[in-house]
């Protein structure tokens, strides 16, 4: 499921909708509604995602985009401060560039 069948590049807004959907699946609809997810939402401070939830989120990105995006590799290249400050917009930009 979730595998991209088209080679069309998603724009920033479409990527936001897609990733918001993944986050909702990972943290549950009830919490996602409370969180008011936006491109500025940070993964740790705003969305309160822990490491195993970021694993789930990464897996969803891998399943959707396949080999065109090395999301885990990108995350592991970050230092602690970068990880703490990681927000949705940075991920959207990264995926947009990789497509």
């Amino acid at each position: 499921m979730d595998t991209l069948n088209t080679t069309e590049k998603l724009n920033h807004e479409e990527l936001f909708t897609l990733l918001k959907g993944f986050i909702t699946e990972v943290i549950g609809e009830e919490f996602a509604e409370e969180m008011d997810i936006s491109p500025e939402s940070s993964f740790t401070k705003d969305l309160e995602m822990d490491s195993i939830e970021i694993v789930s989120f990464s897996e969803k990105i891998k399943a959707h985009f396949g080999d065109q995006i090395d999301f885990t590799g990108w995350l592991s290249s970050m230092d602690l401060d970068e990880l703490i400050n990681l927000d949705l917009r940075m991920i959207i930009n990264y995926i947009y560039e990789c497509q």
Partner: protein, 260 residues
């Protein structure tokens, strides 16, 4: 999300580089989950090996169990996982309590393990190490805080507090985990570690309370070597790149030695 069913229970696994000839299985510690390997250590090992990570029962995204937290059961869970994935022989890496599971598996299923890496396994009999077992929950929280929050500005949020609380409440109040742990108090003195004839790498933190156990294990296990990594009990979080490289070096060198 890769979830497989073993003995009618769901187990969360992650695999990298499935095509590789040899497999490394990574076992996490108590009250942690496979994410301790997923981001930094596993990708380095996967350049050379097929890597399998799994969440222990009731941990991470694996299904909850009410009992079977002693080393014998945790070890047969691992063998059942290997059978399910059709892995006849693997390299085994275990951290903390996962290191004790790795030792138990090496003793009971020697022919299924090629090489062994034990990181920061505590001696459950040692008073200081027992302190660590008592504080396993703290280790999990510290991992979370060290990796994913800014401790000076952010407290763990309401949702994470509730999620953690639910896990500890279940494990401490509704499972046999505490009693099973107490029963393992004399594990290291009850078994004969000189029977382990598998090349073994012991990785301990230079400032860890567990390091005397690493030194003792090094004396007991015939084909072992001890390497100290700068840090304390949390070396996989403190020095993931160094840990990954050291493991790859060990597994590769010993393999070359065996083949020539």
């Amino acid at each position: 999300m890769p979830i497989i069913e073993i003995n009618h229970k769901k187990v969360h696994i992650q695999e990298l580089n499935k095509g590789a000839e040899q497999t490394v299985v990574l076992i996490h510690g108590m009250f942690s989950n496979l994410s301790i390997y997923y981001f930094n250590i596993a990708p380095v090992l996967a350049k050379k090996f097929h890597v399998v990570m799994y969440d222990l029962k009731s941990h991470g995204m694996s299904e909850r169990f009410e009992d079977g937290y002693d080393l014998g059961n945790m070890s047969s869970d691992l063998i059942a996982l290997m059978d399910k994935l059709q892995l006849e022989k693997v390299h085994l890496v275990g951290y903390s309590f996962g290191g004790l599971i790795a030792l138990k598996t090496a003793l009971d299923y020697q022919n299924r393990i090629s090489q062994l890496v034990v990181m920061e396994a505590p001696d459950p009999q040692d008073e200081k190490a027992r302190g660590i077992i008592e504080q396993y929950s703290k280790e999990f929280l510290e991992h979370y805080v060290a990796n994913f929050t800014d401790t000076t500005k952010v407290q763990m949020g309401k949702r994470q507090m509730e999620k953690n609380h639910r896990m500890y409440e279940f494990l401490f109040n509704k499972t046999s985990i505490k009693a099973d742990m107490i029963r393992e108090k004399y594990f290291l003195s009850e078994v004969n570690l000189s029977e382990i004839h598998i090349p073994t790498l012991l990785l301990y933190g230079s400032d860890s309370n567990c390091t005397p156990t690493g030194e003792w294990l090094n004396d007991q296990i015939p084909d072992s070597q001890l390497e100290l990594i700068s840090g304390d009990h949390n070396i996989p979080i403190q020095e993931p790149a160094l840990i990954a490289e050291t493991i790859v070096d060990f597994l590769s060198k010993t393999l070359t030695k065996t083949l020539t």
